[in-house]
């Protein structure tokens, strides 16, 4: 029995790698200084696209809108009136399709020459959707709920999906984090630490951080997260966070990594992992070089059934010659990698060799390994599954 891994096939449809759509697990996080980025902004159900191809948009421009049906409310009319379901129609004041106002009577019952009167008011503004003579229930459908999709990125519309949405293109830096909480936010980049190994403590966050995307170093403390929320920071990007601090701050323990809906005051992105972990020097340097720029940030993370990593996009005009796609090339000697598991967790180096034979680890697992030349010149042997490629 022999088992080895294939690379995922290359696809001709390779243009949406940064589109925010989930795609197959990639063992590496993108950290790119200059890239053409495209984002598909899609409506959840068909609707109207408000702009045409070629139009310029800002990040808060509404690009598409639709309506979802309103909330239904079930009214037990027959029960309230004290009549049989099959007799209910005689007492209905409204029919299917009629519009009703909250409090307006939809059914009326009178007996004993008007001595006994019963009304059934509508619980909300809406439309009578159904009247059931089997159950005696009436369903009042509330007003449609409007849904609007914003551009998220400042840029140009390069494609329109009729009734579906639009693709926004921009040019800028693209940085993926490993885990985040909170949704899409925007703000000016402000670096609050002097180095990638520095902890973000509360005194580093002041009133001038309001609306800003804060860049930290190795760790953010619980008190610093509270302070960031208190001053109204938009986002905080940092190397690591302690599990217990995050649990206390969010008020809930993370079970599975499907995030983005949390409302904790700001969007948090960690770039390395849980615990105190220096932000990768490349990532830190890149973020620092864009201090004062607008950043579009999304903490949404999904690790199951397609991978979605949190991201920081910094639109800019600076053109830099782009290297090829390191992930597509795979690992070769010289590829920069980060080790993502003990005993070298967080260490950064370059691939030294890729032996073919399986090797026994301390855990006695027989695995395919690689050797990594670390920054101090030492060589570490680790399972191939325990590294990720760093794009530089």
């Amino acid at each position: 029995m022999t088992t080895k891994k294939h690379e995922a096939p290359k696809s001709e449809k390779n243009d949406d790698k940064e589109s925010g759509e989930a795609h197959a697990y990639t063992p590496g996080l993108k950290v790119k200084r200059a890239l053409t980025i495209e984002k598909l902004r899609r409506l959840p159900i068909p609707g109207e696209v408000l702009h045409k191809v070629g139009e310029k948009v800002n990040y808060d421009t509404k690009v598409a809108r639709t309506e979802i049906s309103g909330e239904p409310e079930i009214v037990k009319v027959a029960m309230v009136l004290g009549v049989e379901a099959e007799d209910m129609m005689r007492f209905m004041l409204k029919k299917v399709g009629d519009k009703v106002k909250m409090g307006e009577n939809i059914a009326f019952y009178s007996a004993l020459w008007g001595l006994i009167k019963k009304n059934v008011p509508s619980p909300k503004d809406g439309v009578i959707e159904s009247i059931s003579e089997v159950t005696g229930q009436v369903i009042v459908r509330g007003q449609p709920i409007p849904i609007e999709v914003e551009a998220y990125l400042p840029g140009t519309i390069v494609n329109v999906i009729p009734r579906g949405g639009a693709v926004i293109q921009t040019h800028g830096a693209f940085i993926q984090g490993i885990f985040g909480i909170g949704g899409e936010v925007h703000g000016e980049i402000k670096v609050v630490v002097s180095g990638n190994d520095e902890v973000v403590s509360p005194e580093k966050i002041g009133p001038d951080c309001k609306g800003k995307v804060l860049i930290g170093g190795s760790l953010v403390t619980l008190d610093a997260m509270k302070k960031a929320a208190e001053v109204g920071a938009s986002a905080l990007v940092v190397g690591g966070v302690r599990h217990q601090d995050l649990t206390t701050f969010t008020g809930q323990e993370i079970g599975v990594a499907i995030t983005g809906q949390e409302e904790v005051g700001f969007t948090l992105i960690i770039t390395e992992g849980f615990g105190k972990m220096n932000m990768s020097a490349t990532t830190f340097k890149l973020l620092k070089s864009f201090e004062g720029y607008l950043a579009c940030v999304n903490g949404a993370t999904q690790i199951r059934a397609g991978v979605l990593r949190p991201e920081i996009i910094i639109p800019h005009e600076e053109k830099v010659e782009e290297k090829g796609d390191t992930f597509a090339m795979g690992m070769v000697p010289g590829t920069p990698v980060r080790i993502i598991r003990q005993p070298y967790f967080g260490a950064i180096g370059v691939v030294d060799s890729l032996p073919v034979e399986l090797q026994a680890m301390e855990s006695e697992s027989m695995v395919r390994v690689l050797t990594v030349k670390l920054h101090d010149g030492s060589i570490a042997t680790v399972p191939r599954a325990n590294v990720e490629i760093i794009e530089e």
Partner: protein, 623 residues
Amino acid sequence: MLMSSSHFRIAMPTLKKPIEDMQYILATDVGSTTTKARFFQKKDGMWRFYVAGEAPTTVEAPYEDVTLGVQNAVREVEELTGHKLLSPDGSGLIIPYDGKQGVDLYCTTSSAGGGLQMMVAGLIKNMTAESANRAALGAGAIVMDVIARDDGRQPYVKIQRIRNLRPDMILLAGGTDGGAGQHVMEIAELIKAAEPKARLGASYKLPIVYAGNKTIRKDIEGLFKDEFALDIVDNIRPTLEVENTEPARRAVHELFMEHVMSHAPGYNNLMKWTDIPIMPTPAGEGMAMQLIADTFKMNVLGVGLGGATTNVYSVIEGRFVRSVSANLGMSYSVTNVMKEAGIPNIMRWIPFKIDEEDVASRLMNKMIRPTTIPQTLEDLIVEHAVAREALRLGLQHHRTIATRLKGVQTQRTISDMFEQAIEDSYVKMMTIDVIAGTGGLLSHAPRRVQPMFILSDAWLPEGVTRMFQDSVFMMPHLGVTSTVYRDAAWSIFDKDCLLRIGTSIAAVGTAKLGDPCMTVELTMPDGTSQKEEIKFGDIKLIPLGESKEAKAVIHPAKAFDVGEGPGKQKEATVIGGIAGILLDARGRPLYIPTDDAQRRDLLYKWLSALKLYPEDPLKELVK
């Protein structure tokens, strides 16, 4: 009666070659991250596992076509064997084998894109809704929620829930035949009002299986027929005393093929490639567990411990029940195990000092980078600790499902109806003859005694229990193969898949550490005798090779039971395996000292006694 495999067939498929003439079989499992191909060959008249190939699953953008992943996995098989299997024009596989190339049978299971996700609704939580839940689980589904009239939620809360769920399918049950239908209609109207949207896109007509009171079928049809793909089947509870899940389960399976699979990217093509219908992975795994029970005529408790879910299967006196704990797993869901079990419950299995925050961070880091593997012994032991808790919680969940007879029509008394409590489960460890495990962590454990010990700690087998293990994760493949070619599937299963790890002999009861627990007299295959006196708190492994048998006479101490009652002697034939015979006198419930130092000492003693981990690094860790 044990359900035969025919219960899972939709229709007898037309095979390209009579089964007796077949030479090669290919089976794949399209998993959520990896597509696993297993190639089987008939050699010298005997079916054997030949080679494996694996590739990333390509269900997500940018690929969005599962057949690409299948082709890659099969291509690996081709490379490793030199045997051509794929059609040159990319239209599928060469079927049948023509003496040089091709394969005689191709079949597959699938859990890509999250598997079959269902919502279940019934009238009464503990009756029709519970029966519907069992039917859906039995068909291989992940049940996202069970809606019932008496589930304690306000209608608007239920509506909100249904709107947010986005299931692949809904199973609606409720009422007995001929009874009043009004309340079932209320639930039906609530579902319609919520306008549930299918997960797989707007063009998809959401399937609803109605398996309730037959007298309101016309009303149900009138309500649902325009907006849903409605399928009406026999009532799941035609009378209060009868549960009849089979028609609903069959309908779920058929709709899975017709609607869910055909809307998943590339599945229309994959369905054309296969000789028999695609089966949900857990259904294939369940069939493999049934194959064990059917062949050995024993009660089986099995588990598929995966990255995202833990599936537990029981076949007890012919009754097959499956449960799936959707968020208990060893990678994607590992932190949910920590959340559900609590860190102290994980820490109790770790024999060295380690900070709670350190363990939590390790697990969070595993969750965000789910494909990493433990390099250090310390990391391996932490993962094994989590596995015990995932298994324990999985079984706990299973017991809430395995409460009643299911499948074929089952007679019940009225008094039974109102006693469906958790403790009502018929899954009692003393009645379990075989424990079988599959899934990455168990199949890839560096030492084969590790899964035996992990399963023992988590499930606490009682009396005499055989322990089996899937060798290279091919139970789903063999499960689906067994639907058309049982003998081939069993031959491979028996010889290449089902590793016999050994037999556990465990006494139920407690005492003081060091008190006598049981004496086991063993007559070994070579005729020699061996007498083992085991004290409370001890565990011992006696080597006995695979398929070797020994006669055991077990004398429990007065306070202990090994199956015949407290203090009563039991005689049994015990069968060996890779690990041997495990004599377990650690108590039931398991005795773990509350004092931390004593706990670590005792754990270290157990781990050393079984040579569970490499000696020197372990000694270093616990120092």
